[in-house]
Symmetry: C2
Subunit: 231 residues, 2 copies
C-alpha cells in the first residue's frame, strides 16, 4: 500500500473561484486526499469550469469530476438565465444572482460521491461575512445539511460522523486571501467574476468582483488578475 | 385570471414507478397544480423515464421537466453501474441497488425548481414499510430534509413553511395500490422493475418486482402489467 492509504479521502466542492481554491488547499494541508467536484449547473460564467480544473490540477488532487446538471432550465437566476442582468451595484436583500437551492444541490451531489468513495468529510467554500446574502451560505444551513447527511446515507446511518466543513464561513474575504497566500494558493488561476469578458477578464463591477477587490485591498495585497474596471 | 390561479403549485418527483404515480395523483387530488420532475441520474432502467412522462401526461400536470445528472460516473450502485448485478433475492442490510444519496439529490433539484415556481410544497414517493431498506426513505430523513429546506432557500427564510410531503411513508404497498386504484391511477403506465426486458417487461425477480407483486397480491388485485417470471 502506498503512503496515500493512511490519508482520509474528502470531497471538496471546487467552483474555480477564490474561496473554493483556498478551501481545497486548506483540506490538502490538513492531510486529506482531496477529490475535487465541480458542478456545471448552467452558470453563465463558463470559464469558471476551466478555472476549477486548473485549480484542482495546481493544488494536486486524488480525483476530479465535473458533473453536468442543467439548473438553467428552471430559470430564476441571473447566473443561469441570460434574460436577467447581473446587478452592477449592491442590492437590498437576496440578489438576483442567487441560484435557487444551489448549495443544497452541490452538497447533495458531493454527498453521493463521498458515499461511493467512503469519504466522511465534505468541504465547501461557503462564507457568511463578505458574501452576497445567500441563505445557503450561513452556519445554520451548513449544520442542517450535516444533520441531514447523517440520516440520509448508508455511511451516516452505519458509522455516523459525516462532517460538512465550511472553514471560511466566519472569515472575512481579507482573512481568506491572507490564509490562502500563506498556504501558497495561486489566485492567478481563479476566476470570481459573474460575467467575465471573452478572455476571462473580470468585469470589475459585479458583486463577486467587488467582494474580491475589497478583500485584496483590506489584506493589503495585490490581486494577480487584471480587471476591466477600476477597482 | 383562470381558476388555476387559486390552486397552489407543488413539485412532485415522478420516477415512472408505482409509488410516485400514486403520489402525483394524491397531490392533484388535494388540489395542487402539479409540476412533475423526473431526474435521469443514469439509471439502467431507462424505460422508467418514458414511463414517468406517460404518467405525468395521464394524470395531468401544469408542467413537466426531465433533468439529466450523471450520478453513474461515481459508480457504487447496481442501478447505475452495469458491472454490478441487480440482486435476484432479498439481501441483508442495504442492498446494492441503493443509489448513494439519491433522494437527497432528487429533493435538492426539486427544491431548486420549487423556489423558482414559488412552490412551498414538494411531494416524494418515499416509503418505509414495503421498501428496500434505503436510509433516505425513512420518516426521520424526510423531516431532516424539510428542516434543511427551510434554512436553505429564500422562500424558506423569508416565508417559512416549506413542506416535504411523503404521503406513502407509513403505508404498505397493498395500501398504496388500493388508494391509487380508488383515485383512478392507471398502473399499466408504470414501471417498477430494476432491469426490464427490451419491451419493458419486468424481470419478476428483483426487489422492486417482488415488492410490487406482493403489494398487488395482498391488495387482492391484479397487476395490469405482465411479468416475465412467475409472481
Amino acid at each position: 500500500m502506498s503512503a496515500a492509504a493512511d490519508r482520509l479521502p474528502a470531497v471538496v466542492l471546487v467552483s474555480g473561484g477564490l474561496d473554493s481554491a483556498t478551501v481545497l488547499t486548506m483540506a490538502r494541508d490538513r492531510g486529506f486526499d482531496c477529490y475535487a467536484l465541480t458542478v456545471d449547473y448552467g452558470q453563465r460564467h463558463r470559464l469558471e469550469l476551466a478555472a476549477a480544473q486548473q485549480v484542482a490540477l495546481a493544488v494536486g488532487v486524488a480525483g476530479q469530476r465535473t458533473v453536468t446538471l442543467d439548473l438553467g432550465q428552471f430559470g430564476g437566476s441571473a447566473l443561469t438565465d441570460p434574460q436577467l442582468p447581473v446587478p452592477d451595484r449592491p442590492t437590498d436583500g437576496i440578489p438576483t444572482t442567487y441560484v435557487p437551492a444551489r448549495n443544497t444541490v452541490l452538497l447533495a451531489i458531493a454527498l453521493s460521491w463521498a458515499e461511493v468513495l467512503g469519504a466522511m468529510d465534505l468541504f465547501i467554500g461557503a462564507n457568511a461575512v463578505d458574501y452576497s446574502g445567500y441563505p445557503d451560505c450561513r452556519p445554520e444551513y451548513i449544520e442542517a445539511f450535516e444533520r441531514l447527511a447523517n440520516v440520509a446515507t448508508r455511511a451516516g446511518v452505519e458509522h455516523g460522523g459525516i462532517r460538512i466543513h465550511a472553514p471560511l464561513i466566519r472569515m472575512t474575504k481579507a482573512q481568506i486571501i491572507q490564509r490562502g497566500m500563506q498556504l501558497g494558493v495561486d489566485y492567478a488561476l481563479t476566476l470570481s467574476c459573474y460575467q467575465p469578458g471573452s478572455y476571462g477578464a473580470p468585469c470589475g463591477v459585479c458583486d463577486a468582483c467587488r467582494l474580491r477587490a475589497k478583500g485584496f485591498a483590506e489584506a493589503g495585497l495585490r490581486d494577480p488578475i487584471v480587471t476591466n474596471a477600476a477597482g
